[in-house]
């Protein structure tokens, strides 16, 4: 019998399912640039066989990324806000868990990029006095984000001091 090993459980809540679509779209947009460049090389500069190989290799890589990454992320990205702390988990190949006490929160921001608006999503960013301390929750639906932001903002005001 080995001793029980201490560990952290993941945060309780999943992000919105639409976040998968958002991540896929964003990744696809990112791949467009190299793919377009390689297509030009293939067609205009007459790159021949090497260009064709590079184009297809990039295409396969892009396709794998766009299909695998969002689902992987969806299984990893989680969040939880309790009385005491904000706790998040994010990443896919490399993963990260962040914990920030509510008493040390300095600002609470919500932000929405153009693609995120398309899918009705929003981000919540919680900053602390540390330049390396911000906690992001990506891919929440707008209503949840606004509710969380309002809730955290009121609770942050209640704490005294400059939170350093």
């Amino acid at each position: 019998m080995t001793e029980p090993v201490l560990d952290l459980r993941p945060p309780a809540n999943l992000v919105n399912r639409r976040a998968m679509l958002f991540w896929a779209t964003r990744a696809a947009l990112g791949w467009l640039v190299p793919l377009a460049g390689e297509l030009l090389w293939l067609l205009l500069a007459d790159g021949g066989l090497p260009a064709l190989i590079v184009f297809f290799a990039t295409g396969v890589l892009a396709l794998t990324h766009v299909t695998v990454m969002p689902q992987w992320r969806f299984h990893v990205h989680r969040w939880e806000v309790t009385e005491q702390v904000v706790y998040t988990q994010s990443g896919w190949i490399n993963q990260e868990r962040r914990i920030v006490p509510v008493s040390r929160i300095q600002t609470v921001d919500t932000e929405r990029g153009p693609v995120e608006r398309l899918f009705g999503l929003a981000n919540l960013t919680v900053t602390t006095a540390s330049a390396r301390g911000p906690v992001h929750i990506h891919g929440l639906d707008l209503e949840t984000t606004q509710r969380l932001a309002a809730d955290l903002a009121t609770r942050t005001q209640a704490t005294a001091g400059d939170a350093t």
Binding site: V5, L6, D7, L8, N94, E96, P101, G133, T164
Partner: protein, 473 residues
Amino acid sequence: MLAVHPVQEVIRLLPVLIGVLFIGRDGQGQIWSLVGLGIAIAGGLLRWFTTTYQITPTHVRVRRGLLNRRELSVPRDRVRTVDLTARPLQRVLGLSSVVIGTGRSDQDHGVTLDALATAQAARLREELLRRTPTMDERPAGSEITRLVPAWIRFGPFTLSGIATIGVVVGSLANIFNETRIDPEEFGLLDSVIGHFTSAPVALAVLEITVLAAVLVAVLSSIAYVLAYWNFRLVRKDGTLHVTRGLLTTRSTTIELRRLRGAELSEPLLLRAAGGARCLAITTGLRGRAAELGSSVLLPPAPIAEARRVAGEVIGEAAPTTTKLVRHGKRARLRRHTRAFLFAAAVTGILLLLWWFADWSAWPWQAALALFPLGVLLAEDRYRNLGHALLGRRLVFRHGSLVRRRYMLSSDGVIGWVFHRSFFQRRAGLVSLTATTAAGRQHYTSVDIPTAEAVRLAEEASPGMLEPFLVRRP
């Protein structure tokens, strides 16, 4: 209330004026230099006319700019550090620059007031930090340490001379370029070059290496003396007070209530010579390189002295010497894997270049030395990796080329990050980061076994992780 025009700003242009008048040669260059000088003087005057500062009971305000008027306003209770710097010319003229550190955000680089009269600058600092006014540059208080001239022996091991050589070579090249003098016209340089080109390769390499080593050692020692002469660390009612410098004098004041810990840093050479330096971990001084100079609590000095100073500053001696918990054999394996992969990648690339691109064989043969060196480095990195929690004091240590020991107050920790890469997850390790508003903003201990990292974070911040703790069989 205090409102002053920094009149003396224009004096900063004196060296430019002198330079142009005496160095200028005939021809186009001189005209452009004069035009440049005119613009510089006009700009300086403009700055002088348009910069004002004001200390009110609640705020420090600086207004500057003519077209693009900027007003910086800092609440006085956010003032965390006040730095006085006097460059040689400023010292001759009895002036000092004042940098007021606020440590609010990254965009805010603090408030800088150039060229106040030194006495006025000192008074300003006293007033900002709400101390009784004193004109004395060397305040009374309990002295923690002062420079012992014997410490200058650590100068050569800091390698700061390398940067100096770079600057010197750069400006020499610039001078030759500007004055259109062919270096080969110089008899001395010419004969030196001639000597090295005619000598056998091995001898020339040896000579150049020895010459460079001596040069670096001498320049590093000079840099040490310039930066740290008259170094003095004093504790005085709630502040730490550092004064130092031979030509450019600096004086930094750190409030003890802003202090979150201390760092011992030992670059490899300095460590081999038994030396270390001590830095403050404090809010208001960001971890950026430019500001690290302000957080020096001890220049390179014997390690025992560095430990004593760190212990005095943080108020307990144990964290500076305590034995740390090692991270186990998986962390060790990862150190070795990395060193091996790096050596293999470099050798592999050079091998390919030799095979396909007709490079000579000696680069990849020389790169083979990376394998044994990598083993030594990996082993040292593993041995230096460690953590501990002593009461409310978190201790992390890592690094080989620069070994650092962070002693951070766990009350200063304002968040935890557990980072796990793909391979770390497979090995059951995490990199634990404590984020803080002080110093480098984040302090990381890599490759701690997961359970140990969770236990450490939970004990350092009691209750914070409680709702999420699970015990796996």
